[in-house]
Subunit: 349 residues, 4 copies
Amino acid sequence: MTFSAAVSGASGYAGGEVLRILAGHPGIEIGAVGAHSNAGQRLGELQPHLHSLADRVLVDTTVENLAGHDVVFLALPHGASAAIAAQLPPETVVIDAGADHRLESAEDWDQFYGSAHAGTWPYGLPELIVDGEGARQREQLRGATRIAVPGCYPTSALLALAPGFAAGLLEPEDVVIVAASGTSGAGRAVKPHLLGSEVMGSMAPYGVGGAHRHTPEIEQGLSRAAGERVRISFTPTLAPMPRGILTTATARVAEGVTADRLREAWLSAYAAEQFVTVLPEGTWPATKSVAGSNHAQLQLALDPRAGRVVVTCVIDNLVKGTAGGAVQSVNLALGLPEDTGLNLQGVAP
Amino acid sequence: MTFSAAVSGASGYAGGEVLRILAGHPGIEIGAVGAHSNAGQRLGELQPHLHSLADRVLVDTTVENLAGHDVVFLALPHGASAAIAAQLPPETVVIDAGADHRLESAEDWDQFYGSAHAGTWPYGLPELIVDGEGARQREQLRGATRIAVPGCYPTSALLALAPGFAAGLLEPEDVVIVAASGTSGAGRAVKPHLLGSEVMGSMAPYGVGGAHRHTPEIEQGLSRAAGERVRISFTPTLAPMPRGILTTATARVAEGVTADRLREAWLSAYAAEQFVTVLPEGTWPATKSVAGSNHAQLQLALDPRAGRVVVTCVIDNLVKGTAGGAVQSVNLALGLPEDTGLNLQGVAP
Amino acid sequence: MTFSAAVSGASGYAGGEVLRILAGHPGIEIGAVGAHSNAGQRLGELQPHLHSLADRVLVDTTVENLAGHDVVFLALPHGASAAIAAQLPPETVVIDAGADHRLESAEDWDQFYGSAHAGTWPYGLPELIVDGEGARQREQLRGATRIAVPGCYPTSALLALAPGFAAGLLEPEDVVIVAASGTSGAGRAVKPHLLGSEVMGSMAPYGVGGAHRHTPEIEQGLSRAAGERVRISFTPTLAPMPRGILTTATARVAEGVTADRLREAWLSAYAAEQFVTVLPEGTWPATKSVAGSNHAQLQLALDPRAGRVVVTCVIDNLVKGTAGGAVQSVNLALGLPEDTGLNLQGVAP
Amino acid sequence: MTFSAAVSGASGYAGGEVLRILAGHPGIEIGAVGAHSNAGQRLGELQPHLHSLADRVLVDTTVENLAGHDVVFLALPHGASAAIAAQLPPETVVIDAGADHRLESAEDWDQFYGSAHAGTWPYGLPELIVDGEGARQREQLRGATRIAVPGCYPTSALLALAPGFAAGLLEPEDVVIVAASGTSGAGRAVKPHLLGSEVMGSMAPYGVGGAHRHTPEIEQGLSRAAGERVRISFTPTLAPMPRGILTTATARVAEGVTADRLREAWLSAYAAEQFVTVLPEGTWPATKSVAGSNHAQLQLALDPRAGRVVVTCVIDNLVKGTAGGAVQSVNLALGLPEDTGLNLQGVAP
């Protein structure tokens, strides 16, 4: 059986990546391909790398065009998805790459987004440990018809630290996360500081001081795993590469926790996960190893001087961090094998 | 009056950068240019960007060749400088870009370098605040004849956090520093993971878990500023750019410390410093702004949710982080104006 | 039916890319994975992006290990493949990513490679027009048991210019080809000029003056298409990117040839080719559009002032230029659909 | 004696680079710093790498603001400079980084720019050989009060080929020039294809088929050197680096011309030029070697198979290709030593 999918936001990076993955997905057929200002253009003009879809013509992102599909991928600006979803049939699988339905706390939403809270949808990070018993988020995604795709930074930060919090090995205060992202994370809108001339050869922070909107989303996931409120200091930085996130996450370990105990916790957390790998000891992850693939690679070390664990995690922000994670969640929603269409190697060098 | 200088390690990146700066220094004349395996070659073959020095021929790094100059720059592998310095006249200004003479603690030296401690020389970071009264390291450099050039990461980390510790605003525990460095920081020796094919488009951590040798050096400087022992978690990462360091440093603020109080501490610390700038509020530093220059640019923010300050600092690892800082210290040693030969703008874009 | 394949040179970039493609090939199963100095290591240590093959252990590149497979991919240094192939059964499909069996002229071989000529194998560029009637190279590949993979530069240069020569529209003298390649084209061996610090932010030519070994290979293919001897000036350059080739090829057009006539020749040459696209007018190719894919994208323009046509062509040097072209040829040799395992979109941005 | 200079277009890349160089120029003091839409802002907000000028406030680009200086640098859109220059005193040195006054042929101007020809000013490329006797362009710049800065591509192409044409060694037909430029050559205006995400890891041609506006400018200079009409095929490409141009220029050599004869012509052409270097044999130029400096580095080779010489030339498009060449010409205009303020090494790696 083949399901049909509509994809909006197809002229952007997230939408393009959803199309790239769906083009190789044996269980989903691409239907309407929607865009805002580019409606009427050939996809080949906007996404010349999507060879097999080059002659598709973009349509307007209207409910009429999106309806009638089994799945609707929304890659729209914040605030736009709720209204569209409300007009789609309840049995349609609607998956939102935007932030609108990620946060449970209306207060957090208000503080960081400053608009009305649209409600919460199941969070599309299947491997996430959601309690001290090791339950996973994927259970909430099976058969779901509304799914919120996690932010790219939260995907890597949560995969990095949730095992330690779920196992009770980490202190909930003084958690520090610093992440470096490729420029595609900033989207395709043209802004002066995203010019190649500015970006190449340069690294720069932004959203410093807890101002980035992914902060409460990371805290929400870690708090759930920990069973208590976790507070983080999160600093994102922009790196001179088109794709990839390297997250460095560090937390104080609880009294008496050893390196072996830590390693065991992470290994057991991901032993059965095909898209999340704890690398062999002595090997550190590089973003290039997961470029184009739906994998996360992690490594951790105990710093005995500082009494902290440092966990590093790499993902492709556009794949595991957005489009790949979305397709993985949709597979669960549709009852397909979770890895359908996602057996992608990394593209390196 | 013009001083003469010998430069060893001239075929490497640090030595090349010392030569680049000295070529424009009105008070210092370049004498012997030494290298190890490349002796006998024209400098133009190895450093084709040093246009005015292209026809200089490299000599062996022997005491005979280095002696007879007012200043000797050593850019040699760890462990090599002490023996050479011992054979040079005591009045010669010997400045060591290696680590041998940076650490005061023989125990730290042993733990991180695993060899006999060569002793401590004055630390070449003039702007560093060394006590709660705001005294600066530069006083120890005036007239010095032996100088240890700081590591590149410590330069940025110490400039980032010392003002807060000296002012008593930060807690000495749970200090976290994550830094991204351009590849020239790893030197010019050919290693597989430093190939362009591997580096471009990729970010990767290394020395995770407190293993990097710059860790005790940063702790030493922060502890001096704080007047108490400071412990850090330090994680370096390799970024896809040839030059530059972006350091993100964060520490818990003491009870009741406000954003204004923090800002005031950093502003007053660097108000009189021409090479260290706290950027106007709302502006975040980018490594490219200091590429090729001896400047550090900083910005800070209080994260009230996390109760931490986040300080970001950019330098050029080869200039302020090595060769520029070295020349600045030598200027002090020789009694020249501190900025002689160092009024370099950044080269951007 | 599934065929088995052995892959040698698996620790290098070409071998790694063959494995990446075969991992998604439904008709070929990966058997022995061979390497030289890295035998005994896990593939995950050397090619951490090949997620599904991480636990494969590399074996020595011996005839014993390679024999017993339906297909043997050789990615070895020049001069090594003939001896191995001679010891493999004649019905085994042996495909050589090296240069040993590309050139028909022993004289050219001697001039550019300086060793004994190993003979000529069918040339693995299926789309290549080989005569004025429009016959294609793929006919020589169906059922072949020995195949020479074209060089990466020749792949792009021949695809760019063969249509014009086959149609009699171009003059055989004063053909000029300038190409920019990503650094993976230089392989994974560590050399000082390939360090990331040297490569990033820099472009440099090499093999200038007709010295590059791909020169006679390009002339051989163009001469065959033209039915007369074609001479080229070929200059390769190294670009600051890991993958991709942009070839700019220009030739004098014959008297009276119009822009429409030129366009028609290229369009008709590739109308039936799924891996070679002449872009719509006004659109110029970018290497990123074919990164990770087996596609070539071309565009051409007549320069009426200069009386020349300029054809630009982009490929991924490791895919269409090496591993993808190899798999495509093997598909033909094995009687599989030519595009099996090769329906890869580009990975952009 | 110190001259005063006004700089317009100071928020762009060319204007910023003029300021970077003037900041270290001992004979010129920076006066008004003008910009269009950014008037009123601190220069530090727009050009944070210009440390010593950070507190300068940008003024409107009006004649009132520019008048009263000895020198006026114009870095404005095409068509804007003539009107301003007409209102400035005739003794003011006005130097135009735009194209308005470069071309002598009104017909060429009309064909490539499509507007009224503003007339011709002395061409600011001092080292250019302008006839078969070896006369240089610098003679026209001494004491000049109106100067047209050459385009960045023409600077490198003319330096590459003029010696051969002036010496009568090259044929005027079938000259082919392919050049790769860093993205700063496209300016600071935000355009989708100049986003970092698009540019990094990608090379792409543009203006193919003789359409680039620098084509007639290159032909003009080469024709003057040759004493006959020279026609070129010129193809520019965009490379994933912020700065630098690598030009590959090739021409058919006249009957009987030897490699030695060619080498001698280029060596003698530039023996007395401090900013143009023919590299030692066997060494090929890299753009990084001239990053940030006013130097051009060249190398050439005879291709005996093709009967052509290939000349490669690297410059920094913003320095020798724009701002450095401009200052060099202004030095000649003011009667200062030609290299005043221009003894800059390259910044590498």
